[in-house]
């Protein structure tokens, strides 16, 4: 199972095994990682699962889609170059070892 590491705004880290095909958001929420709110459950409708993707993985993870791009513009924390909504990143072997920082404000 691919691993994903979440870094909280205060620096605390947790690494989880993700189910292949589950999103970075789902993996976090199901295991109770704080700071990933994800009220819409992954419908790309709420922008409350905002993360900053670690530079080393930015190219592999890729750019947000148009809809996600617009959502990120209005996210509670200002977007950064590697901002993504974690519900739109599906875990796979390619992303094993992924590191994301959780945006400080989600709602």
């Amino acid at each position: 199972m691919p691993k994903v590491t979440y870094i909280q705004p205060d620096g605390a880290e947790i690494t989880l095994d993700a189910r292949d095909g589950d999103s970075v958001m789902e993996t976090a929420v199901k295991n109770g990682v704080r700071g990933i709110v994800a009220e819409c459950g992954g419908a790309c409708a709420c922008a409350t699962c905002h993360v900053f993707v670690d530079e080393a993985f930015a190219a592999t993870v890729g750019e947000p889609g148009d809809l996600e791009d617009d959502m990120l513009d209005g996210a509670a924390s200002d977007r950064q170059p590697t901002s993504r909504l974690s519900c739109q990143i599906k875990m796979s072997a390619d992303l094993d070892g992924l590191v994301v920082r959780i945006a400080p404000e989600q709602v």
């Binding site: 199901k30 295991n31 819409c40 419908a43 809809l67 209005g74």
Partner: protein
């Protein structure tokens, strides 16, 4: 130390449990739900789940280990049938005869689909959609069904209708009112959805008067309208709203209105030992004012549950939130921010026929809500504005040249 019993293991019930722990509550937490599953997401049931792109495990709100790790006793498949608050400690009894003793009670009993009170409504193939069991039943019949009649042109019905059309079925939506989603959106948005569903091949019949559902003795075959016309149907999906489940609250003598449990801004019921949250409650408008509202949404279930948990943990913080809602129908993403109740003016931004536009709602010149269809930037700008108590001048809002977020001003 005290023990909390949470009745109802949906989105709100689960969030109360989670937020109790987040607030440092160390007492025992028992979460009892009558469905055979742990807490799960309902919104995908009318969309991704129906089309096979989400299984039950995907729908789980938390992994089973989460409840163990957080010392939340999660009891599925058991129904609380009576509660007694007359003693020093509360006592609940379930349908298995089990007794649960507790100090504080949270009701997150949710709602149940309103049933269609007409002849033929009990025929096989007349379906409702609320829980996984309903969705499984619908899904099991889905592939074999060539024609679907949806009774009720609200969100659930239209989401199912859109999915049925995408799967090539013949689809008719029967709505009793003279427009779709009449309870939640303006006539402009209603008319857009009528046209958009028609463009996708669905027959939308407004002001429809249904006389009965017809069948071959056991199975549904169609829906008969006043005047005798029969619309053929292999499946009839009924989505005519929900009723708050206030049975236990009524049994406890709590204040209810049409079954909805009345709560204050701290999610307290008329008995301060009992809090309630989610679809089952009638609450003060979460942006202030005198109005009492029912909010059947994930956002409200989650945010109000957080308030309820704080109250239980001894942190008094009134519920304040910008209500928001979404509905995905085919490739149309509707996002609603704020509550339009009581609006006296609307501004349409963009052209509905382009399938990307917004309707902004105003009351006394002040922005109160937005419906956005495939117009995410508008929606996000308004949600932020409402959250910070700001507004957007009505006379400027229609101008597509100017992004809404640049028009936000203090009010």
């Amino acid at each position: 130390m005290s023990d909390v019993l949470i009745v109802g293991a949906g989105q709100a019930g689960m969030q109360i449990a989670v937020s109790l722990r987040d607030n440092g509550f160390e007492g025992r937490i028992e979460l009892v739900g009558e469905e055979p599953h742990g807490p799960y997401q309902r919104p995908p049931l009318s969309k991704a789940f129906l089309h096979g792109s989400a299984d039950i495990e995907t729908l789980e709100l938390r992994a089973p280990s989460f409840y163990v790790d957080n010392k939340i006793v999660m009891v599925p498949d058991e129904k609380v049938v009576s509660i007694d608050l007359s003693g020093e400690r509360g006592l609940a009894v379930t349908d298995t005869g089990r007794e649960i003793h507790f100090d504080k009670l949270a009701l997150a009993t949710g709602s149940t689909p309103r049933r269609l009170p007409i002849e033929g409504a009990d025929l096989d193939g007349v379906l409702y959609l609320r829980g996984i069991a309903d969705a499984v039943e619908l899904k099991n019949r889905w592939d074999a069904a060539a024609s679907v009649v949806v009774i009720g042109g609200g969100f659930i019905g239209l989401e199912v209708a859109a999915g049925a059309r995408m799967d090539g079925k013949q689809v008719t939506v029967l709505e009793a009112a003279d427009r779709l989603i009449a309870r939640a959106v303006s006539p402009e948005t209603s008319e857009f959805y009528r046209a958009a569903h028609e463009r996708r091949g669905t027959s939308v019949r407004l002001s429809a008067k249904i006389s009965r559902i017809v069948g071959d003795g056991t199975k549904v075959t169609g829906v008969e309208l006043d005047g005798g016309e029969v619309v053929p149907a292999d499946i009839v999906m009924v989505g005519i709203g929900v009723i708050a489940r206030g049975e236990l609250a009524e049994q406890l003598g709590l204040e209810t209105v049409n079954g909805a449990i009345v709560v204050n801004e701290f999610a307290e019921t008329s008995d301060p030992r009992v809090i309630a949250a989610g679809d089952a409650v009638l609450l003060p408008h979460p942006l202030g004012g005198d109005a009492q509202v029912r909010l059947e949404s994930v956002q409200n279930a989650v945010d109000q549950a957080k308030t309820a948990a704080k109250t239980l943990a001894g942190v008094r913080e009134p519920y304040r939130a910008v209500p928001w809602f979404w509905s995905d129908q085919a490739d149309l993403k509707l996002q609603i921010g704020g509550l339009s109740t009581g609006y006296d003016q609307t501004v349409v931004r963009g052209t509905p026929d382009d399938e990307s536009f917004s309707v902004l709602y105003y009351r006394d010149g002040r922005l109160i809500a937005i419906d956005s269809v495939n117009a995410v930037s508008d929606y996000m700008a308004v949600r932020k504005a409402l959250g910070s108590g700001s507004t957007i001048p009505a006379e400027l809002a229609h101008n597509l040249e100017t992004p809404l977020k640049t028009l936000v001003v203090d009010s």
